[in-house]
Amino acid sequence: MWDTIIITPFTNVLLFIYTITGQNFGIAIILFTILIRLVTHPLMVSQIKGGQAMQTLQSDPRYKELQEKYKNDKEKLAQEQAALLKELGVNPFASCLPLLVQFPIIIGLYQSLYKAMANTPFDMLNLTRHLYPFLDITRVLPINNEFLWFNLSQPEKLFVPFLSFGIPILAILVMITTYVQSKLISPPPSGDSKDQTAMMTNMMNLYMPFLMGYMGLTLASGLSLYFVVSNVIGILQYALLGKANWRNVIPSFKPKAEVVDAKGDKKKMVKAANRGKK
């Protein structure tokens, strides 16, 4: 089921791109990653909107009032908050669900990359069985795994003459781009040193780059290339949507204007909140 719906189509699209782009697997991975990010763009927008709506809500005076009023009755507070969310039309899961939908796609992409780079005769047997009829195997094979200075089926390291060891350039890029992306999408610092959510977000912002960097260091570099390209496109998407919190990365950065949703959703929510006050 998983193979039929996700991995096989992904693998075939990836290999189709490979055959029409001069049989360069690195370029095929880059183009395929861009394609996947474009297809999942609406999910990302939905995720950003959901997250921003929650941030705006937390700065709403009525939300703070409720917290103060029901600080000793957590159950009542939850009920009142749920009512407020409903009144403002905010779905608390709107930022989580698109994220969850994207993960199977990311994992499918990973697995299809691995499948396309068949490592054993058994992998090759499976690959040939899952190729769609429009793909000519004599054009698909052999897969040209060489891209720039590295082999896409092996972990990457750049060896330079004056060093006795190789530098894992891609793994470093994976870490940097993952860190930058996660910082850009994090809400601005609240200034409250006891803010547990902020502390956990900071922890995740450190944890994820190391996790991804470790994967970049140990797995086939084709996947590291995917991670880097995917992160860079993600950063560009956030920047183009005006949702990147550059001050999280560059503290001296001064935004030109207050970040406002492109469709004016924030304004609508504030208005709705004001209506609620009256």
Binding site: C96, T120, M208
Partner: protein
């Protein structure tokens, strides 16, 4: 019960942790998987599946294994080359190792090309004092069988997955790059080459009358005249051939992944007979007794007469993809998802023993 907003934040973080664990599991747990390579010589069957195991051919008990524990950096699947005193294997980490066949697999020598990072997928072969082995790093290596020292190397256009075969003049290489190469056996210099318009994963088979046979993944069996350095004939096959054709008394026997078993006249390429199996055939057929034995993916192990009639049939639980190891009396079947990693049959098709690796 905490407030709803921090709850959703916490939920996101928990989800992120769960998802990252899931990503690690989904992405990090990819392991090399293949069917075992098998070779039977002098009362012992050697099996390469991650580790190399020597198993008593009479009763299926293990004699020794190498390395001691499964080592992620020393994974072997290619069938071992067995000489009078050595078991030689190439692993998936660009290392060729010679083990002492008489001394419980003690390491005699290793060869590693530190410049390259390829995999030895095809089995090593012997040509006089040379061990020939191709790598996914595109290089064919010729090593001194006694010392493991490099004698010569040849770089193809792309990876070499299949075993390198030879006659007294040439080493024959069937490449993933669509090229069939004939190399001078003494120097490794390319003598000539032919583009066969299809990637090759199956080793060439040296026949009589200057013919060498090779299957391509373009669903073809090709005979090459090495005197004329040209294609002698081509035969379209229904499906791809994954196991090397068996040449016996002027006839080539092979199976395909589209359920076909073939017998083909080696001189002309015309079909003698074909047989519809019940599932894809990946393993090479073997000659046992006076029968040609094929194994299909649904676990059927069946014997055919030279005239194309089906004789005995047995079933194993699993997918017998490995090209069986064979002696005049026994054949040993292996594969993936097998109930028993190895099953031995005699020439009458009776099961003799099964093997499961000791814990």
């Amino acid at each position: 019960m905490r407030t709803l907003i921090p709850q959703t934040k916490s939920l996101k973080i928990v989800l992120l942790l769960v998802v990252s664990a899931f990503v690690l599991a989904a992405c990090g747990a990819v392991q090399l998987n293949n069917w075992p390579g098998l070779t039977a010589v002098d009362g012992t069957v050697y099996m390469a599946q991650s580790q190399v195991r020597a198993i008593n051919l009479t009763n299926g008990t293990e004699l020794w294994h190498y390395p001691e524990k499964v080592d992620a950096n020393n994974i072997t699947f290619g069938a071992p080359l067995v000489t009078a005193d050595k078991v030689i294997v190439g692993n998936y980490h660009n290392v060729v190792t010679a083990l002492d066949a008489k001394n419980k697999g003690a390491v005699l020598w290793t060869f590693k090309d530190f410049e390259a990072k390829g995999r030895f997928i095809g089995r090593p072969t012997l040509a006089g004092d040379l061990v020939l082995v191709g790598s996914t790093d595109k290089v064919v290596y010729a090593l001194d069988v006694n010392t493991g020292k490099l004698v010569w190397s040849f770089k193809a256009r792309d990876a070499v997955w299949s075993a390198v075969t030879s006659d007294d003049r040439f080493a024959y290489v069937s490449g993933m790059d669509h090229y069939f190469y004939a190399l001078d056996l003494k120097t490794g210099q390319k003598s000539w080459e032919i583009n066969l318009d299809g990637p090759m994963i199956v080793e060439p088979v040296v026949g009589e009358n200057n013919l060498v046979y090779v299957a391509t993944m373009a669903d073809e069996l090709v005979a090459i005249d090495v005197e004329k350095q040209a294609v002698a004939w081509r035969m379209d096959t229904t499906g791809k051939t994954w196991g090397a054709p068996l040449l016996h008394e002027g006839t080539l026997y092979f199976g395909t992944d589209k359920n076909k078993a073939y017998a083909v006249n080696a001189a002309t390429g015309s079909a003698v007979w074909s047989f519809d199996a019940t599932a894809p055939i990946v393993a090479a057929p073997v000659f046992l007794g006076d029968r040609f034995v094929f194994a299909s993916e649904d676990g059927q192990v069946f014997a055919m007469t030279a005239a194309g009639a089906q004789d005995w049939k047995q079933t194993v639980k699993g997918k017998p993809y490995s090209s069986p190891a064979v002696t005049p009396e026994l054949m040993v079947v292996g594969g993936v998802e097998m109930e028993f990693p190895l099953v031995a049959f005699n020439a009458q098709g009776a099961q003799v023993w099964t093997f499961t690796a000791p814990k």
